[in-house]
């Protein structure tokens, strides 16, 4: 059977989650591989959430927030930006391909961009193959 990646997405409530909703109501087509989790702000996403996601069987993790300058809480997305930079550095040391983490700015009006992002990310991860803890899927 073809490898269907399991993706986890942390979307900020004010922009990206609304962008995902827009993609839905505009009936955009995109793969169903992403499990979206709404958080208040991309700055709320702990590095450990992402590591946990991989540990629990994710093959890729998307972090998405408001565009730079637009964060509802002013600077949360800049924090997320720096966290992701540090996280990728450490993930690589751990042996996990840093491309398994993607950071994207998606606003509430960008339903199309959301759909494209999920399409692109799904095929990138398909290319990379299963993540570090893929037994969860095999047990299903």
């Amino acid at each position: 059977m073809d490898f269907e990646p399991k993706l986890v997405g942390f979307l900020c409530k004010w922009c990206s989650s609304a962008g995902a909703d827009l993609a839905g109501v505009s009936r955009k087509n995109y793969p169903s591989n992403l499990i979206p989790i709404t958080v208040n702000c991309s700055g709320r996403i702990d590095v450990s959430y992402v590591v946990r996601a991989f540990h629990d069987g994710a093959d890729g993790v998307l972090i998405s927030g408001c565009h730079p300058g637009d964060c509802h809480y002013n600077s949360g997305n800049y924090k997320a930006w720096r966290r992701v930079a540090l996280l990728k550095h450490v993930l690589e040391e751990f042996g996990v391909n840093p491309d398994r983490v993607k950071l994207k700015w998606i606003s509430a009006t960008e339903g199309e961009k959301f759909a494209q992002t999920i399409k692109g990310f799904t095929s990138e991860i398909k290319e990379l193959g299963p993540g570090p803890y893929n037994d969860a899927r095999e047990r299903e």
């Binding site: 450990s48 966290r83 930079a85 803890y133 893929n134």
Partner: protein, 333 residues
């Protein structure tokens, strides 16, 4: 205090450790005599001549308390941990290695065969022309010899048995050990499962001044002249204080050394290293905000050993527990 006729039976054991924790117990100096007033030592390989057979002969929970130091590296470590669990009422993870795997846990970044190659073949100081490595079984003089198995990964004590109390530190400071002994002797212990140290972070006990709250460059301690009054993080030195449990009176920062995190994280933190990345990201100034990542590589270049820096003591107890293989079926803790 227990009656003399009804003395506490105390045990101590070393698994995969450096021996420092046993020395730390002796570091109580004459105060250890107070302990011996109220307690009998019933098993302590580092200091007395008890054998495993003696331990096996004890009844279930015959030992009131056992101080277990060291991580679980070999099948012997694991076997004795289980045996001690059975024979002990209160099992104490004593020191960083039993608590979190400690420094030996850093070997989880390499697999077993790489560890063996480094230790027995490739180290410049190793002379081993026949390439002898320890084997679990070998023939000798017509008989068979057996050695404990070297496990694939280091685990902490909690990784193999239930732990009742943890006294953290590399090694635990004498005051902390003394305080714990007082709690035992006065029958005043906190609920089982507690880590018997502070509930805040090292920063909370540190006297350095913290005001800049931003870093634009990382430095290693030997590279700069350290200001004695100011926060080490403010000076670009990675100090694990913000994500490390209090209880040591910030003894390293007080001595001009960054905290390495030996007490492990405070109770609610899942992964000490990941938590440090969170904190660092909050104060890291890479370029101006908005153009944040332009110079990312320069900043990170001065972070040569991220795992050794952020997971010095906690790697074996972290979410990944060590190096993983992309696309592999890595074993969960």
């Amino acid at each position: 205090m227990q009656e003399k006729e009804n003395k506490l039976k105390v045990g101590a054991y070393w698994a995969s450790s450096c021996g420092g924790c046993d020395v730390a117990l002796l570091g109580l100096h004459e105060r250890i005599l107070d302990l011996l007033e109220g307690a009998d030592i019933a098993f302590w390989p580092a200091a007395t001549d008890f054998k495993y057979e003696d331990l096996k002969s004890y009844k279930r929970n015959e030992l009131d308390i056992t101080f277990f130091n060291g991580g679980i590296r070999t099948s012997e470590n694991e076997e004795i941990a289980k045996l001690l669990r059975e024979k002990t009422d209160l099992l104490v993870a004593y020191g960083s290695c039993a608590h979190q795997g400690g420094i030996p846990g850093l070997a989880n970044m390499s697999d077993k065969s790489t560890v063996f190659d480094t230790v027995y073949r490739d180290n410049p100081s190793t002379y081993n022309p026949e390439g002898t490595v320890p084997l679990e079984r070998s023939e000798f003089n017509g008989g068979e010899l057996e050695l404990p198995a070297f496990n694939e990964r280091v685990k902490n004590l909690e990784g193999v048995v239930k732990v009742d109390y943890t006294v953290p530190g590399c090694p635990p400071p004498p005051e902390l050990t003394q305080n714990f002994l007082d709690l035992i002797l006065n029958d005043d212990l906190p609920p089982r499962g507690s880590v018997v140290a502070g509930e805040k972070t090292v920063c909370d006990e540190c006297n350095r001044e913290w005001n800049k709250k931003s870093i634009d460059e990382f430095h290693r301690p030997q590279e700069i002249e350290i200001d004695l009054e100011k926060c080490l993080l403010d000076q670009g030195i990675i100090c694990m204080g913000p994500v490390t449990r209090s209880g040591c009176d910030a003894s390293c920062p007080e001595m001009n050394l960054p905290c390495k995190g030996c007490f492990g994280p405070p109770s609610k933190v899942d992964d000490q290293g990941a938590e440090m990345l969170n904190s660092l990201a909050s104060i890291l100034q890479i370029g101006e905000e908005g153009k944040a990542l332009e110079s990312e590589e320069n900043v990170l270049a001065n972070l040569p050993d991220p795992i050794g820096t952020f997971y010095s003591f906690s790697l074996a107890n972290s979410i990944f527990g060590g190096k993983v293989e992309d696309g592999g079926n890595n074993e969960r803790k």
